[in-house]
Symmetry: C2
Subunit: 85 residues, 2 copies
């Protein structure tokens, strides 16, 4: 299997694994399953992976982390906006 | 910042984000917060990232996913072994 396809397959799997949770968080307006510590560590980490992917011109890294950043941002925004409920 | 350092920093952040949960799962012998679907998608995805990292000889990818595979395997084993409780 060509490396690029392998990387893209990995990217699709680890990115799509978060989509059901992101959808559930957006629908239920509740992100209590996610701790702020985990969210912050992951957000910064995935952002660095994204920058790293851009720098070494690696498509799987750019796609996986570009989409994951959006998922995590949605979860973080919901967690902050609906923190009282 | 040198690319390798940037990649290793990203690897440390996204890998260590899972350590508290892995520790909690191992200590409480409960992995109910994790769905099987998420675990399987992530396990296969991270395993493919690990192989991809080996193939393109990328240290950050090898380290991050090599350690994450261990975390996920611990969570999966606990979830299976203590599934009745």
């Amino acid at each position: 299997m060509d490396n690029q396809i392998l990387g893209l397959l990995a990217a699709i799997l680890t990115t799509s694994a978060y989509l059901p949770q992101t959808y559930k968080v957006a629908k239920t307006k509740s992100a209590k399953d996610f701790s702020w510590m985990w969210l912050i560590f992951m957000w910064i980490g995935i952002f660095l992976w994204f920058i790293y992917g851009l720098r070494i011109n690696n498509l799987p890294l750019i796609l996986a982390n570009g989409i994951s950043i959006i998922s995590l941002t949605i979860i973080g925004v919901v967690k902050y906006v609906y923190r009282q409920s």
